[in-house]
């Protein structure tokens, strides 16, 4: 997901409604300072799962940055709740999951909660921006199955070993590199698509 930190490409988070969930004052302050620095202005700061649920049912959310709320893992529960219970479009909202540490007992829960991508703390502004751009990318398939509701976790457009499955069963095409993803989301022409 390499994005050039000196890039002059522009992006605009001013009108994005962002839900933040973190139960520690310092964790919330760090998140707020990063996203406001990146230009976000419409923040819903939640310190409990209940507050976050209230926001998710009453406001349209464009992005959620949800801490796992270790050690309870309540953040994973919130994301799962949102995927199953929130009305459209919030049930599809891009979700960045932040975590200080994932205990062994929570790895499956973290994988299956329905978040788009996990960010390990400490969080650098650059990493946050790259992830925001990445999750905003259009065309990511959303998957409903008996055991999982959330974004398709397959990252590459490769057929299963041996092939033979239906075309619509495959992940959508993704750009060749993370940089292309970022540039594509910023409205720039991905390098690989430039005319020679």
């Amino acid at each position: 997901m390499a994005l050039d930190p000196a890039s002059r490409a522009r992006f605009n988070l001013e009108r994005a409604a962002i839900l933040l969930l973190d139960d520690t004052p310092v964790g919330m302050s760090i998140l707020v300072q990063i996203v406001t620095g990146l230009g976000a202005k419409q923040l819903y700061r939640c310190t409990t799962v209940e507050q976050a649920q209230e926001v998710a049912v009453s406001q349209q959310i464009d992005l959620a940055i949800v801490d796992s709320l270790s050690p309870s893992g309540g953040g994973y529960d919130f994301i799962k709740w949102m995927r199953h219970n929130a009305a459209e479009p919030n049930c599809y909202t891009p979700v960045l999951v932040t975590t200080a540490h994932t205990p062994a007992s929570d790895v499956t829960r973290a994988r299956d909660c329905g978040g788009h991508i996990l960010i390990k703390k400490p969080i650098a502004p650059m990493v946050m921006l790259e992830r925001i751009i990445w999750v905003s990318k259009e065309g990511r398939t959303f998957l409903y199955s008996d055991g999982y509701v959330g974004p398709d976790r397959r990252f590459r457009d490769e057929p299963p070993p041996g092939g033979g499955r239906r075309r619509e069963d495959r992940a959508p095409a993704t750009p060749n590199s993370d940089e292309e993803i970022a540039l594509g989301a910023l409205g720039s022409k991905p390098k690989a698509l430039k005319a020679s």
Binding site: F11, N12, I34, Q60, S70, I132, G139, S145
Partner: protein, 154 residues
């Protein structure tokens, strides 16, 4: 037979990011970093407060397998991760991650090593020392990782 359904939602976020105005990447990153600078004293104070709580909790930690005591230490350490990078002590974040790893391994495997936990707590205080030379930090972190790995599931 299980059923799988795919939908292709359109996120408003993608459209909003492309709206005119906004910030250049470089400018946004500078602003975010400048904002974080204002949190330096808060983050340092928070880490010191958590460390003091952890030292007290370690003092109370039982001599035999103490799951509740270890859970308390895990929570304190996890709550501190992320503050170190902001207050200019990124090694503290690494040390706290090692402590979380260690406690998680011990609890998962139902084994106990009170001294190994103590080493991590003492290292936390050491890593909080302002102006600690980089050549002194690396061996401390390597040692902490070694202690944690000793109990990692094989």
């Amino acid at each position: 037979m299980s059923s799988v359904r795919f939908v292709f939602p359109k996120h408003r976020l993608a459209e909003l990011l492309r709206e005119p105005g906004g910030l250049a990447v470089a400018e946004a990153l500078d602003r975010a970093q400048a904002n974080l600078e204002t949190l330096k004293p808060t983050c340092r104070a928070e880490l010191m407060a958590l460390l003091e709580l952890a030292e007290v909790a370690y003092g109370r930690l039982g001599q035999s397998f103490d799951d509740a005591g270890m859970a308390e230490l895990y929570t304190l350490a996890a709550h501190g991760i992320g503050a170190g990078a902001v207050c200019g002590a990124p090694a503290v974040d690494e040390g706290l991650s090692s402590l979380c790893d260690l406690v998680d391994h011990l609890r998962t495997r139902r084994v106990y090593d009170r001294e190994a936990i103590g080493v991590n707590i003492r290292a936390w205080r050491l890593l909080m020392t302002p102006g600690l030379p980089a050549e002194g930090i690396a061996p401390v972190l390597a040692g902490l990782r070694k202690v944690s790995k000793r109990y990692a599931p094989t």
